[in-house]
């Protein structure tokens, strides 16, 4: 049994890797990407501002790297085993990593960058450590942002030069009219040749177009050189502030985080699920907010559906073919065939609408006055019974729970009925009946217990479904649960949030299947994994 468990657990790792890799690739293939949902509203900000902002975000989330690099980086974030310098942790629990290395300036073969600054800097001690580190951190982040923006401006200037020069440079632009700097190693000779030929033409055959071309070339070249200069200055500054911040970081302004295995090489630390950029909050916080709501609704819904469906299934099988069997069969199947969307709309339109029945609230989990309510039903000052906070909550979740349960009756009760019927016709049942065991004992103790196996499989499948949340029900009733979260994440292409959701659902799924297998062994002595 133990070997079996270990083997199953080890198999989980490649399965999870496969699932996340696949989702990651699909996300990378999706058009638009992260930038699509981060675009400024339009009509505000200037072109360079937006380009710079995008460059900064790309740098921050590493979006311009190859997909596989991004995937490995994501894995190393969520993995509890960390490599390299240990992070530090502020007293408030925020984790700070060592400042990232600054990317080199573009096209160094044509425009050699200035010498890399080497900062000699002694961090202060005592009370000043933390404020100084904060200041350096801020400087470093700010100058990095400016540098990354200046790289984008340089690329635009390069693309402009290519467009003005024309062939052969213009052919190297990509589909979006952007330039990849490394393709422009021969930039200066080509540019100078173009300028010379333009100048010669302007002298030999003076025309408005010829002079215009000379001017355009000169303009584009000037802009390019300005961009190079600004990129280099900003690079020096970014490098300098990064080195300072790194030195201050190495002086450990805060206690180090995690448990070292080999100091500063391998560390055990908690997983970091990242930040959901569409909501600008840590993914974990979002899940913690949404999960209890979904669990609450499901934990109410599932016992109800089991308590109703299983006994009726048993009764239907015992009285196979009589009126009860037919009635529940027809009723459950007709419920099953009502789409949840329609049921939800009808529930709101008739059960909740004051113009009709108005029995239930329409949305949310609490009434507006819920904060002031006592927890349990109690008498208020005037002696009138009040429903209380708990009652109010149950009243609010009634309709979502109804919509979640009614469809599952058919599957559960039919499944119970079928496996009961299988067993009822078995030889041991006839023997028991012949022995004179009371009918109820035969049904409950012999047949029902043996019919539990398929129900176990179905029961375990519930948990992953609970984590996923019910997208439709949560949307119709404005329930802020996991379903709404996943839906939002997908429509915003929010990578970290989608991946965390997928990972959680995958883990729970795999674990649930394992639990199902173990439960089989417990419920049925014939099953063994030795």
């Amino acid at each position: 049994m133990v070997t079996y468990l270990v083997r199953r657990l080890l198999f989980m790792v490649p399965t999870l890797l496969g699932i996340t890799l696949m989702v990651f690739m699909l996300l990378a293939l999706a058009p638009g990407g992260i930038g699509a949902s981060m675009q400024a509203a339009g009509g505000q900000g200037n072109t360079t501002g937006i380009a710079q902002q995008q460059a900064y975000l790309e740098d921050r989330y590493g979006l311009s790297d190859p997909v596989i690099v991004q995937y490995v980086r994501w894995l190393s974030r969520i993995s509890p085993i960390k490599f390299g310098q240990r992070d530090v942790r502020t007293p408030r629990g925020e984790r700070i990593s060592i400042p990232r290395p600054i990317p080199d300036p573009s096209l160094t073969s044509v425009f050699p960058p200035p010498r890399k600054p080497q900062v000699v800097f002694t961090p202060s001690t005592g009370d000043q450590v933390i404020p100084e580190f904060k200041l350096l951190q801020r400087d470093s982040e700010g100058s990095r942002r400016e540098y990354v923006g200046s790289m984008r401006i340089f690329r635009d200037a390069l693309a402009d030069v290519a467009r003005v020069v024309g062939p052969p440079l213009v052919g190297r632009l990509d589909g979006k009219g952007g330039a990849k700097p490394s393709d422009f190693d021969d930039l200066l000779p080509v540019l100078i040749a173009a300028q010379e030929s333009a100048a010669r033409e302007a002298v030999s055959q003076p025309s408005v177009q010829a002079t215009e071309r000379v001017r355009q070339l000169a303009d584009a070249r000037l802009k390019l050189f300005e961009a190079v200069h600004s990129m280099h200055t900003k690079w020096s500054r970014a490098e300098e502030t990064r080195q300072r911040a790194t030195i201050a970081f190495m002086a450990n302004p805060y206690p180090q985080s995690g448990v070292p295995i080999i100091p500063d090489v391998i560390t055990l630390d908690t997983s970091d699920f990242g930040v959901a950029f569409s909501k600008n909050r840590p993914v974990w916080d979002l899940i913690i907010d949404a999960l209890p709501v979904t669990l609450l609704i499901n934990l109410i819904a599932f016992p109800i559906s089991y308590l109703i469906a299983v006994p009726t299934g048993v009764m239907a099988s015992v009285r196979k073919g009589n009126w009860f069997d037919l009635l529940t069969g027809v009723l459950y199947l007709s419920l099953y065939s009502i789409p949840t969307v329609l049921a939800g709309v009808f529930a709101i339109g008739f059960l909740a609408n004051n113009q009709y029945l108005g029995l239930f609230p329409v949305s949310g989990l609490h009434a507006t006055t819920a904060d002031a309510m006592p927890f349990l039903p109690s008498r208020d000052v005037a002696g009138v019974w009040q429903v209380g906070w708990l009652g109010d909550l149950l009243w609010h979740v009634a309709l979502p729970v109804l919509c979640l349960t009614y469809g599952s009756f058919a599957i559960l009760s039919k499944q119970t009925r079928a496996s009961m019927l299988d067993n009822l016709s078995a030889d041991y049942v006839r023997t028991a009946k012949a022995k004179g065991v009371p009918r109820n004992d035969v049904v409950v103790r012999h047949v029902f217990r043996n019919s539990l196996l398929p129900l176990i499989t179905m029961f375990v499948g519930i948990f992953p479904a609970m984590l996923g949340g019910s997208v439709v029900v949560e949307r119709i009733f404005s329930v802020p649960g996991m379903g709404s979260l996943v839906l939002d994440a997908i429509s915003n292409n929010d990578r970290d949030l989608i991946l965390a959701d997928v990972l959680m659902i995958a883990v729970v799924n795999v674990a649930a299947l394992l639990v199902a297998d173990i439960l089989y062994a417990v419920a049925d002595p014939r099953v063994s994994y030795e």
Partner: protein, 632 residues
């Protein structure tokens, strides 16, 4: 002989469970009572503290009202730079005084129903429209748009000077202004908001920061005077300096940048309402609004100007359209935004509806417009489309009956848009009307441009024999865009033009915009203020990567007008430039402007002083007409 699990055992276990759950529930009950007590206690302490503050200000009052101070004030603006005109402003007051409206009463809660959940309500860090609606009630900026005239008037400021050359703006803060915790608003708060909050790279205020590239520094002159200095003379400087909410430094500087970035409900300011749940400090961060709850605002009892009549505002999210309407009818909401069919159905088929509700429909400065954009440049950098010719674009507009489109597609709700300016803005010339629907003139223009039916098959050809066909791209997911596509297709057939459609997903759509890979595309622009910088959408510079001039429309006259308008600091002059710009765009028709979408709102008649202004609605002026007895 059975020793198995019997019915009695079952009953016993159930009973045991029931007792255990009962005990646990009663413990929770006690806990809640304890928490309630704590809250009441906290509020009491708060009140005591405020009482002390009031007492000490009362003691200080004779000093602050001494003749010397008054003299400095009446001497006129010791704070001002000499020789430049000063605009003086009174303290903010309601545009329509609610106390003079019959039936006025104080108190009551106003519940606004949101269509989507804001992810967070933190100034500058949250940027969606819902967070902004909350922000507008809680925070104030130095200036604001007057609801009736749409002119920039003082809010926290009682006077300002604008450099005629546009390089600086000096603002004086109203000495009476204070934040909702009683601390005065000072020039240091202003400087801190701009330099150490918005422009702090560790704070994720990217969106606002990218609009402030032109801001060089904010300098504190004295306690109540601050000067904004800019690199370049642009009219947007005024919006930057006066339009962004001012945050209390003493409150926000208690938090680490990362805490502010990740907070969900850290919003406080000097406005007429304040958040009901607000952390006192970094150790109290669990006491803040989180998504999933209603956003609850309570009246700022210490508001420094006329207090709001309502005791509180509540924002509740109901995503489902039907659910929202039912909740509104059931009284779970006081205001909602109906869909066009809902608005029509209710106002036309239910005569009783307007007895209990205002059904409001009006155009204001926040109304955007929808349009069809024609590809004026090379598509995806390769071939030219027929729309490169301005005559063809004009013809396209002429052959679309936009009145009919609004009637058939938008249920008659909307007005025909005539240009890039909001029709309420003074920058839009009221004398100009949109191009008419005129099929004959359209055909004549097309013929002029060389598009004629040369082979008699009913489809237009140019002189090379190419047929007039184009591809129409729209984002899937909305019935409206499909109906527009069908309408445009039918209209084109009448003129002998073949249109194919390409429905694409929204993210793919955005990529196509960036690549300029389309012939014609439909979309809408939103608006937040009476004027915005047109450069981003209309200037030829914005045809480059990242710019929103995705039609690649280049018009040198228009470029010149945009540059001139951006550098005109005097509002009235600038508006004249914008009118010329509007005419320039209208003549060239890079877009066919379709419709300005008016605001639709249902508001319960339980509330009074509900006025549709040119800025939108102002809930701080509302009051509850007949306060119904509390629910419990």
């Amino acid at each position: 002989m059975r020793n198995g699990f019997g019915f009695k055992d079952f009953v016993m276990i159930v009973l045991l469970f029931a007792v255990a759950i009962g005990m646990w529930l009663s413990m929770v009950q006690r806990d809640r009572q304890w928490e309630l007590l704590q809250r009441v206690d906290g509020r009491l302490m708060d009140l005591e503290k405020r009482l002390l503050q009031v007492r000490s200000t009362a003691a200080m009052a004779p000093i602050s009202n001494s003749p010397a101070t008054q003299l400095a004030n009446s001497n006129g603006d010791a704070w001002a730079r000499p020789g430049v005109k000063v605009n003086h402003w009174p303290a903010p007051s309601p545009a329509t005084d609610p106390t003079e409206v019959p039936g006025f009463a104080a108190g009551g809660e106003f519940v606004e129903l949101f269509e989507a959940q804001p992810a967070k309500v933190v100034p500058y860090i949250a940027s969606d429209v819902y967070a902004t609606r909350v922000l507008d009630r809680v925070c104030e900026s130095l200036g604001t748009f007057d609801p009736k005239t749409l002119k920039m008037v003082g809010q926290l400021s009682d006077g300002w000077q604008i450099d005629p050359d546009g390089l600086w703006i000096r603002v004086h803060i109203n000495p009476a202004a204070h934040f909702s915790d009683g601390q005065p608003v000072t020039s240091e708060d202003v400087r801190w908001t701009y330099m150490d909050f918005i422009n702090n790279p560790l704070i994720e205020a990217e969106r606002t920061r990218s609009t402030q590239d032109n801001l060089k520094e904010v300098k504190v002159i004295d306690d109540l005077t601050v000067e904004f200095r800019f690199q370049d003379a642009l009219f947007t400087n005024i919006l930057i300096a006066l339009g962004d909410p001012i945050l209390p430094k003493h409150y926000y500087s208690k938090f680490e940048p990362s805490q502010i970035n990740q907070a969900t409900g850290l919003m406080t300011g000097s406005g007429p309402f304040r958040m009901a749940k607000l952390p006192k400090g970094p150790d109290d961060l669990s006491n803040q609004w989180t998504p999933g709850e209603d956003v609850v605002l309570v009246r700022n009892e210490q508001y420094w100007s006329a207090p709001a009549p309502l005791a509180g505002l509540r924002f509740r999210t109901i995503k489902d359209d039907l659910g929202r309407l039912v909740a509104y009818r059931n009284g779970e909401g006081s205001m909602m935004l109906p869909t066009s069919p809902q608005f029509n159905k209710v106002t036309k088929e239910e005569p009783d509806f307007e007895k209990s509700s205002y059904a409001l429909r009006w155009v204001n400065m926040r109304c955007g417009y929808s349009f069809i954009a024609w590809q004026c440049g090379p598509r995806a950098g390769k071939r030219m489309t027929p729309f490169a010719d301005a005559r063809v674009r004009r013809a396209m507009t002429l052959l679309l009956d936009r009145e009919k489109m609004i009637r058939d597609i938008w249920d008659g709700i909307g007005i025909v848009s005539k240009g890039p300016m909001n029709p309420e803005s003074p920058g839009s010339d009221p004398a100009v009307s949109p191009l008419p629907y005129d099929l004959e003139q359209a055909k004549a223009l097309l013929a002029q441009a060389g598009w004629k039916d040369r082979d008699g098959d009913g489809i237009l050809e140019n002189d090379k024999g190419d047929k007039f066909t184009f591809e129409y791209t729209y984002a899937t997911g909305g019935e409206i865009s499909e109906r527009i596509a069908r309408f445009v297709k039918d209209s084109c057939v009448k003129a002998g033009i073949v249109m194919t459609t390409r429905p694409v997903d929204w993210s793919r759509y955005q990529e196509l915009l960036k690549l300029r890979d389309f012939d014609a595309i439909t979309m809408g622009w939103s608006a937040t203020s009476p004027e915005s910088d047109p450069r981003q959408i209309w200037h030829s510079e914005s045809t480059k990567e990242g710019g929103d001039n995705f039609t690649q429309w280049i018009n040198k006259d228009c470029d010149a007008l945009i540059e001139k308008g951006r550098r005109t600091m005097v509002e009235a002059d600038r508006m004249m430039v914008w009118r010329a710009f509007e005419a320039c765009v209208a003549a060239d028709q890079p877009y066919t402007f379709l419709r300005v979408a008016p605001w639709l709102r249902f508001v319960k008649r339980d509330f009074g002083n509900v006025n549709p202004y040119r800025t939108g609605l102002e809930p701080q002026e509302f009051f509850r007409v007949s306060p119904t007895p509390a629910m419990n």
